[in-house]
Symmetry: C2
Subunit: 337 residues, 2 copies
Amino acid sequence: MKLCIIGFGAVGKGVSRVISMKKEILKEKYGLDISVVAVTDRSGAAINPDGLDTDLLIETKEKTGKISEYPEYGVTDVTGIHVLNQVDYDCLIEVTPTNIDDGEPAKSHILTAMNDGKDVVTSNKGPLSLCFSELIEAANSNNSIFKYEASVGGAMPIINFAHETLAGNEISSVQGILNGTCNYILSRMANEGSPYGQTLNEAQELGIAETDPYQDVEGIDAACKIVILANSVLNMNVSLKDVQIEGISRITPESISLAKKEGFLIKLIGEASHNNLEVSPRLVREGSPFAVDGTLNVATLRTDLADDVTVAGKGAGSIETASAILSDIISIWKSSL
Amino acid sequence: MKLCIIGFGAVGKGVSRVISMKKEILKEKYGLDISVVAVTDRSGAAINPDGLDTDLLIETKEKTGKISEYPEYGVTDVTGIHVLNQVDYDCLIEVTPTNIDDGEPAKSHILTAMNDGKDVVTSNKGPLSLCFSELIEAANSNNSIFKYEASVGGAMPIINFAHETLAGNEISSVQGILNGTCNYILSRMANEGSPYGQTLNEAQELGIAETDPYQDVEGIDAACKIVILANSVLNMNVSLKDVQIEGISRITPESISLAKKEGFLIKLIGEASHNNLEVSPRLVREGSPFAVDGTLNVATLRTDLADDVTVAGKGAGSIETASAILSDIISIWKSSL
């Protein structure tokens, strides 16, 4: 299976590292022989039809910041689209940064690959939350397999869980804590009684919140995930503009301690159902599966047979997100057998 | 797909009800046409090669207590083994009561079906926790598919989750709250400060604890599940006698309130790893995924890539357990395509 990795930030490097770690086991266990034939970043690309060295890819990027510096096979002046048009590959791994304005360049990468009949795995929330049905149609009409587990909740495996593990169940809603940064800030505010601004600053110093925290703390990131879950798990046809969004920046330590006295916590909850698409701070009972601390993501699926089923896992992290991408790659490989 | 349901208590009836509910959808969505050709209980059997009426099966059992009273097709004086030897079927649904002394009669039912090359789905913890490797060998040597999701945690889908959704990950341990009765008793003791004996009595009055609560409160039921998880998820080869077991009957309200002051809860935790097979009361931090109330089951898988991943769901219930059996049936059907 020849992979083309477009984008080589934390997630792209994670994928490369995971392939290094698992190459032999995947061959043994699944008969799956992965080779990375091209990788791109802003500087250009590294291309070798016989396969690139996944360790050397990471080393090159970490030392020079540029994948185009890859020994012998590095090239400048090429874009992702060029590479997809010129290289012979089986599956695109689209892991460029999320852009929620127009979903580019990820959208074009994905559509180019699909129109060529290639399979696609992505962690990119942009195109999925802006033009989901367009992507699904392109995949279907080209017989391309399209997988995107890593786009929601990193290592919390919710999409494949809903589709495969809960087969036979009808799922009527998804609710969850879908942003680790917000959950970290709210947990610390609850445990320490500290105000929002100060807690955000501390989270930024620890690298848990980004320098520009807007999309996280205002609920945009969670809303993107709600859109993806609504479309993929509930078979809806919605986009980001359909979600009612309220973030956590106006929550006070006083409201948190008031809730606590009554046995409740305040959490940023995303909800997708056929009646409601919403991200907002809500009261959660202590002792419920949503009463988790820290950067964890949690989601509950309401089903007709199994009742409520909950999954929780790390919402972010390079290797954790790459794990979700690897499970998608394995699933594509299995369905090709 | 012709099913033979051996055992027609809460779980067997649940399976029958779920098939009634989902018959048309399964045809549409998966092209799966299920027919129940035989059902047995202690009274005898109902057998019809053209398919029994799943609603009438439930009605007959609820009205008369005997499946042998099924109109026209009811028979007495037959055992499960007779039926399996005489009826033409594709898949055995073994849902007789769990027997942890010798696993019978479930063990013989399962081996009979496998030796005949039939697929098997079971919720029965007995044979799985006493002679797992014998069953797996029989399945492998007869090319029979063997699925048992419902045997651990009812509607909490942990086994297929580990095998399919987390593909690519190596799992090093499983920890969990695997007995809903114990978790209910401990939660009420924590919330109300009530002593163990009184809380158990109340749970019995509510039908949450059984009249003979021994296997639940002394940790045997959880230990059976730990054995099944160790064998199936961690590829170990162990049985019930290998588990160190301590139940909850000696826990006092005082120890619970002492723990609470320090921010901890007391939960009955099962653990399976290559170094440890244990069921015992442990301290669990508030805000952790194990800090759940009520009859919920929760399990955390420690993985090499995805870090800790947790699933939670109803540990018992007729329809919930049947949901797990249905997902196994669908998975067998898919792999036959």
